[in-house]
Structure formats: structure tokens, C-alpha cells
């Protein structure tokens, strides 16, 4: 994957998640129980994203054939 595409993938995700946490904290308040839950949720999402990105096969024409289809529901 090209560095530009990869940068885009990382930044767009983390900026969006950070924005969501900020918006949520405006509603549930900072350092409340709900805030920690929101944060935990965002962390879970981030871990899932990082894992997904790292485990997505590099788009090398020799390998990606079957793997990219496993992720579909249909």
C-alpha cells in the first residue's frame, strides 16, 4: 500500500474517533462513568482497526486473491 494511502487510512480514523469521544464527553461529561465507557468503546474500536489494518493482506498481486473475499457476509 502506498504511504499516502496508508497515512490517509490512519489519520482519517483517529481524527474521527477523537471527534466522537469529544462530542460524547460534551454530553455525558468528562470523567463520569459513562465517559470511561465511551472511551473504552473507542479504544476497542481503535484496537480492532489497528488489527484489521495490520492483518489486511498487502495488495500484492500474488497473494491477495482469496483473502480479500473472506470478509464479506454474502
Amino acid at each position: 500500500m502506498s504511504p499516502a494511502l496508508r497515512r490517509f487510512a490512519w489519520w482519517s480514523f483517529f481524527v474521527t474517533e477523537a471527534g466522537l469521544v469529544a462530542a460524547a464527553s460534551a454530553y455525558v461529561g468528562v470523567a463520569t462513568r459513562d465517559f470511561w465507557l465511551v472511551l473504552a468503546s473507542a479504544v476497542v474500536a481503535a484496537i480492532a482497526y489497528v488489527v484489521a489494518v495490520l492483518r489486511t493482506p498487502a495488495p500484492d498481486l500474488g497473494e491477495a486473491t482469496a483473502a480479500s473475499r473472506r470478509w464479506f457476509w454474502f
Partner: protein, 170 residues
């Protein structure tokens, strides 16, 4: 059964377009053409040469179109034939960009269509293009048979990481 592919003899092709039309007729492809035919002229007068290429889908081993499809509409059959399911296709044209040969075509409906290796023809029949070819420049068959045939005439497999299933005799 092994994977199937093409053997194309540039020396025999006259660039007559009969294969293109036979394909369109058998497969009822409407306004799109599943074979791209180009004639390229090289040289300086009077040392001129022209060469023709009739290009179907090359049903690559590692088909980039299949990998690039965001909705898994493209599949590869056990015999190597790469097919598109138009019901799944969302017409995003990623496959066109991924294909090194410009094979995928888009009709008025916006859905991708391309050479199916005459999917409905049993293996023992010739493909429609092969059937019509006046000079037998197009052959289809199993890759190991074609390899032997190509080797006899100094033909080579089309290169590239995608592994296109076509031998070309230059």
C-alpha cells in the same frame, strides 16, 4: 481439469474483427465489445510494418480485477475462468483500473461485463471467437496443452505479476 487460457498468434491475425463480432453475437453483448482489436503501425516508409492484437479477458491467475472489486462480484472458477456476477456489481469501475489490459467494459447499465470464455460452451467446443477466426490465430484450451503448442512456435506466456492466461506467438 487444468486451468484454461488462450494462444494467440500475431503472425496469423489479420485484424479483421470477425472474432469481436462473433463474440458479440454469441454472448449478446449489446453495445459493448468483449474483444479489443488494435492495429499498430511501426517504421518509416518504405520499411513499414503493422501488427494486430485481438484482446479478450486473459483470465489471470491472480486476477487484479477480482482483488480490486469492493463487493466480491468477480470470482474465479476452478478452471481458471474469471467471471463477474452482474447482480452484485455496483458499477464502480475499480476492476477497469486494476486490469492491466483494459478488459472490463461498461454498458449503458453501468455494470461491468467482459469475456466469459463463452462460459456456457462446454470445454470441448471452440470459443465463438476461435470458431470464426478465418486464419486460426486464436486458440483456446488448457494451459499445459497451449504451453506445448506455443513452445513449438517460440511463443511465450504474457508476462506480469497477474499471471495472464495467454500465450502469444510473435
Amino acid at each position: 481439469m487444468g486451468t484454461r487460457g488462450w494462444l494467440f498468434d500475431i503472425g496469423k491475425c489479420t485484424g479483421c474483427h470477425a472474432c469481436e463480432v462473433a463474440c458479440a453475437t454469441w454472448n449478446a453483448t449489446g453495445a459493448v465489445s468483449w474483444r479489443q482489436i488494435v492495429k499498430i503501425e511501426t517504421g518509416v516508409y518504405p520499411n513499414v510494418g503493422t501488427r494486430n492484437l485481438s484482446m479478450p479477458c486473459l483470465h489471470c491467475d491472480h486476477a487484479p480485477c477480482l482483488q480490486a472489486c469492493p463487493v466480491a462480484a468477480i470470482t474465479k472458477r476452478d478452471d481458471g475462468v474469471v467471471l463477474v456476477d452482474q447482480a452484485k456489481c455496483v458499477g464502480c469501475m475499480f476492476c477497469f483500473w486494476a486490469c492491466p489490459f483494459g478488459v472490463p467494459q461498461f454498458g449503458a447499465e453501468g455494470k461491468m461485463s467482459k469475456c466469459t470464455f463463452c462460459a456456457d460452451r462446454p470445454a470441448e467446443l471452440p470459443r465463438a471467437c476461435e470458431e470464426v477466426c478465418p486464419t486460426k490465430a486464436i486458440l483456446s484450451g488448457e494451459m499445459h496443452e497451449l504451453e506445448a503448442l506455443a513452445a513449438r512456435s517460440g511463443g511465450e506466456r504474457v508476462g506480469g505479476p497477474a499471471g495472464p492466461a495467454m500465450f502469444v506467438i510473435r
